[in-house]
């Protein structure tokens, strides 16, 4: 887990290409095929970049869940649950994990920012024709309006994701729904 957290996404991506595409020849090294032309190939090409980007999230979610659970564990209502004589598994499921979920979700939303940033690197590594190629070209060419445009687009996406997260959070926690 610690190792997984330490590997930067572009290093992981590059090494995976080296291993799976170059050495084992299991997959193509990257590229893009439209979904409607070859769904299988599209998903195959999508899988590696998606996995690599997801790696950052795995680590974050792991950390946050742990911290959140440690924060909930000493709360009074957990003691109440134990005082009721609930089995430990049930205490954890219904009274710890359920409560710990909200903060995890929020942090997830906030880290979407880093994630969206990470896609720039990963798209570059896997030759995925997303926003990253024009972005990098624009930065290289000091094309200021283009860079600002792309940054604004991604920021908008980021805001949208966080809006969805807030709505989900409200669904999870009745206190927010009321307020």
């Amino acid at each position: 887990m610690a190792l997984l957290m330490a590997v930067p996404v572009f290093v992981l991506g590059t090494l995976l290409i080296l291993l799976l595409a170059q050495t084992l020849k299991l997959m193509p090294a990257g590229g893009f095929v439209p979904f409607w032309r070859d769904p299988g190939q599209h998903l195959l090409l999508l899988s590696l970049p998606a996995l690599v980007i997801g790696k950052g999230l795995v680590a974050i979610v792991f950390r946050m869940t742990r911290a959140s659970v440690l924060d909930i564990l000493p709360r009074d209502h957990v003691r109440t649950a134990r005082a009721k004589g609930l089995a430990e598994g049930r205490v954890l499921r219904a009274h710890v994990v359920r409560n710990a979920f909200g903060p995890v979700l929020t942090v997830l939303g906030l880290h979407m920012g880093a994630l969206l940033g990470g896609t720039v690197l990963v798209e570059y590594v896997f030759n995925w024709p997303g926003l990253s190629t024009p972005l990098i070209r624009a930065v290289e060419g000091r094309d200021y309006p283009m860079v600002v445009g792309i940054v604004l687009t991604v920021s908008g996406l980021f805001l949208l994701i966080n809006l969805v997260v807030d709505l989900l959070y409200a669904a999870l926690d009745p206190r927010i729904r009321a307020g």
Partner: protein, 621 residues
Amino acid sequence: MRRLRPRLALPALLILSLVVIALAVPFLGLPNPVRQDIPNRLTGMAPGALLGRDEFGRDVLSRLLWGARISLFIAFTATTIAALAGTLLGLLGGWFRGMAEFLSIRLADVILCFPPILLALLVVTIMGPGVATLILMLSILYTPGFVRVAYGEVLSTRNQDFVTAMTALGATTPRILALTVLPNIASPLLVQYSLTLGAAIVVESGLSFLGLGVVPPTPSWGLMIRGARATMEQAPLLLLWPCLALTVTILAFNLLCDALRDAFDPKSAAGAGARPKPRLVDCLAPGLFPSRVDPGASLSVRGLTVEIDTKRGVIRPVDDVSFTIGAGETLAIVGESGSGKSVTVTGLMGLLPAAARPVAGEAVFEGHDLLRRSPDQLRALRGARLAMIPQDPMSSLNPVHKVGDQVVEAILAHRSITRPAARAEALALFRRVGIADPERRLDAWPHEMSGGMRQRVMIAMAIANRPALLIADEPTTALDVTMQAQILDLLADLRRETGSALIFITHSLGVVAEIADTVMVMYAGQVVEQGPVASVFAAPLHPYTAALLAAVPQDDAAPEPIPGAVPPPHQFPQGCRFAPRCGHALPPCGEAQPLRQFGNGREVRCARAGDLRFGRAAHDA
């Protein structure tokens, strides 16, 4: 701080050696990292080029080490700038509040919300790539993190007693900040610093990899990976070395950060608890040597002692506590905060935190010793034969479940009936504890109810399985006066109806007379006096009991508060623990006092018991 463990030493050593290498690179006599040697491009390991040569024939080992120098230089410089600027802004914002707070914290929030790589790319667009750009950009990127940490810590530190005291003594603000706040926030800042170093290296190498960070031909790990990608087929090792170097470096910083965090945070370092060992004789010949138990008693506790591992050593918040409570009786445990009342009962319920454990004594409940039951056996008793009403109904209900469901859950934990049947029972319980409109309330969320209502829910939950012993831990402290009276009446009624025994914990003697049969006064982890309520109240034997009684507001006498406070467990006096606050102390009080029988079921722990007389003549008149 505690001694450095290997967890801290290993990453620290690794980072130290990296720094030393980075500093020493120019003196190692390595080949020039930027000198090209095209005829020898991509050659493997050879003398003169230990790790081979890259796509321009440059020496890979040399580039790797020079790359470390560049990466660490950028990371350390940027992080230090960010730490200084961020800490300063956070200190100012936290200390002066108002405008300074608004500017520094809002600004930090805005930057924190922005995807970091995008921000970085914006800066590169304006300034062009290069080391200076990287440092500037990373400093901006990581300042908010430090602002947040410093700000949060200042807020919590500035209200602490010693800071208030210094302010009152007229110390100037910079002096207070430098002397008290800085040392207090040093450890979280150090954690943040190590975290940021790792993050800075990730962003720097990522940008260099995109060709937007360090400008070639300057060696950098990110650039090396970028270059080696093109020749991946011919020379896969070229790719491997910088990837490895980068990953190991970041790993070392992350591990250091984790270890620092754990070393500074006492919460995560609590030791695991152990239960008292079963008596050997009980294992060999159960029942042959029965412990001293009152046969008719619902609960009989003998010599209960609880220890907690803390940073300052092992403390004993509960020391040799004994009491007996018969079926249907009510025992009041009285004492100020910190006297060990709550720890005593949480110990009996088996709900002590992991660092605390009962180390001696026994607690026989319905024929079994609670302290030596397995966790599963205890669980089967808890909420069924043995139930608890907590102190704070606000936090004791789970905010994300409906209150009815939480009561149903308590019923289903111990009885195999259907959910609808349990729900019907919950409804009846709600009615019994006086919750208005119970059908609708079953589906209410905790935050929709008042404190009194929530405490009624907690009581409904506690009596759901008709317990033989109900433990109420200061059940009315968090409520207003009217509510208190109602809840007390409810408890008294319930006890009469169900015939269950009740342990009632309180720090005020006012309610004891109304509800309890016997009273046990605790001070600093020990029982100092116990006996029937009427006789203890009429003629207390211990100065502490007398002081508690005098502190109860009466119509005709002003309450006299007890000067001083209960000492914390690591500072309990050697002799009588009440001596520092006792107005009757004599030389013999310096000895540890045993609990002595005093006839009439009364016990007292005082050298001068019997010789001192505390009447309640004034009150009785």
